[in-house]
Assembly symmetry: C2
Homo-oligomer: 350 residues x 2
């Protein structure tokens, strides 16, 4: 989870970086017990309860000043997004979301209306997603507002999706459109920097969509569930840290390379226009843009039929073939004129 455009702070944990911090933690853990089916390192954990279905557990926090700015997002937007980012993780595992815990850290200036707004957004999405809020915790915060959500999900054995199950030759697909959330945030920041209001929506409906995508991402709950339940994908992960990062991670975890076709990328049309009008290369920027809670997944030729069936059930959500996993190592981008280059790096948190 990140907010593209927010400057990552320097020097945290003596330059370890996010992956270094995660590696540090993993290196310190005991060997996983047999009932921890998927532990740290994927979008969420999968554990085996004593009998029956597997249970998915995930947690993701939104921190004021890092992931949201209350000038741009309402408390309801924040509540929605705090659950959405967790739903996206459960979707990326192919699970059915079940129970949420809500951990709130509230600054002294937080009003009752703020808390009610936050609940509006969170509970509204929970109800649409058939998620029950099972508990949580409230504490005061001497600093920013923090909304930390834990979500459980369930999945049947062998019907979940990890990022390490891709094979060379699998096609890579991405859902929906990319780059929209980044442009939404950039628009808010440009308006604020110019001293203009941010509450009046832009006239361009495509740009308005980008703002909405930043404020209220729609997790791909149904798609993830279909891909998992129908065993229609090999590897899967969500695009919280951008498409380039996701391709890199799926390829690395699967022990493959990857080739992405620049011309195929489903860049949101309004975002592409915005990038172009600001002199930014749309492909490079869209590949590095975080906060698009779309799914990247790999499909092997063997399951092509099941994938087509799942795609038909995805209610019109576009699923775009953007490239392949390759036996040749390296994560490359090929342009229309056949020029190959390395994929740009993803968003860096620290």
């Amino acid at each position: 989870m990140n907010t593209p455009g927010s400057l990552p702070s320097e020097g945290l944990a003596a330059g370890l970086g996010e992956h270094g911090l995660i590696d540090l933690i993993r290196s310190r853990l005991s060997p996983a017990p047999p009932d921890l089916i998927v532990g740290p390192g994927d979008d969420a954990a999968i554990v085996r309860p004593d009998r029956g279905a597997l249970q998915i557990l995930t947690t993701d926090a939104l921190v004021e000043g890092v992931h949201f700015d209350l000038r741009f997002s309402s408390p309801a937007d924040v509540g929605h997004k705090a659950l959405a980012v967790n739903l996206s993780d459960v979707a990326a595992m192919g699970g059915v979301p079940r129970f949420a815990l809500l951990s709130l850290m509230l600054p002294a200036a937080c009003t009752r209306a703020n808390v009610e707004g936050l609940l509006d957004g969170l509970i509204g999405l929970a109800e649409r997603s058939k998620v029950a809020i099972a508990g949580g915790n409230i504490t005061r915060s001497p600093g920013p507002l923090v909304v930390d959500v834990t979500l459980t999900g369930s999945a049947r054995p062998r019907r979940f999706l990890t990022r390490d199950a891709g094979r060379a030759g699998d096609r890579l697909y991405v859902s929906g459109a990319i780059g929209a959330a980044a442009v939404g945030l950039a628009w808010f920041q440009a308006q604020a920097a110019a001293g203009r209001g941010v509450l009046e929506p832009p006239a361009d409906p495509g740009l308005a969509e980008c703002l909405e995508r930043h404020r209220r991402p729609e997790p791909r709950t149904r798609l993830g569930l279909l891909l998992g339940r129908m065993r229609a994908a090999s590897a899967c992960m969500d695009l919280s840290d951008g498409l380039a990062d996701a391709v890199r991670q799926v390829a690395a975890a699967s022990g493959t390379g990857a080739l992405v076709d620049a011309a195929r990328l489903p860049i949101h049309p309004a975002a592409a226009r915005w990038f172009a009008s600001h002199g930014i290369d749309p492909v490079q920027r869209a590949l590095g843009a975080g906060d698009d809670y779309e799914l990247l997944f790999a499909v092997s030729a063997k399951v092509k039929g099941r994938f087509r069936a799942a795609a038909r059930l995805a209610r019109g959500l576009p699923l775009t073939h953007i490239g392949e996993l390759t036996s040749e190592p390296g994560v490359r981008l090929v342009t229309e004129d056949g020029v190959e280059s390395e994929l740009p790096p993803g968003f860096v948190h620290f």
Copy 2:
């Protein structure tokens, strides 16, 4: 979860207070689905996976400046305590702790040594408690260090403990000793206020125990599990917000009154001495002191035999009979000379 002695901030959420905030949230939730066995309002949630054992889910955060002070606690102490407070919640439900998710919010000044220390404390306790770290999340914090842990536990149907299952006539018991953590914190604060060092331990070994209790509370994992598994208690909850608060909550949830015998309270001897030497009434202060992660539980006459058997298995942990649940409403304290008064209020978070 609170830190006694830290001043609660005024005015949060327009004076709603913590219970008001919880009520507000509960009033906004949809009716619980049948597989949400225990929802918000108890120490933790209990959910029914598709088949098999029940799963307990809980989350509790430690926030720098609210729950800990890095002058008094090492990062390892904080890591230990962040898991301990969650283990205490699972113990209070009578469950076996299983999987933890670790959500970290790290300020830019946080060093690698800080993170390693934190993991030392957390993972050390996780290993002793047979808890697997199943995942988590890391983000930067523009404010305080936050360690938010989610813990799952399991329990068999009808073998878990809620706070609402007490009946008039049940005896009230408390584990271990109370007041120690509050005195530990008060000692640190007095040392710091006087410009004296806090790293040299006090000569009094009892007082040193109090410091340790503040920094590294020992959750009553085994006791909670025994009480739940052996059906040796009716109601149970932990003392995160103090004994008076716990008695009030168990009585209110169970629809009973309660009578607590001041002379029976197991006040930690060094804490009692410290209170007396500072002109503080030990009983009043110990009743209101939070941060003692002991268990309060109710035992009906019918299960006396099972309770004795569980107590024998509790490895020497003292279990003190401190009073009764009553059919007469009200939550009262009776002193040695027979004077009755209302129980003092518990700790107030906001």
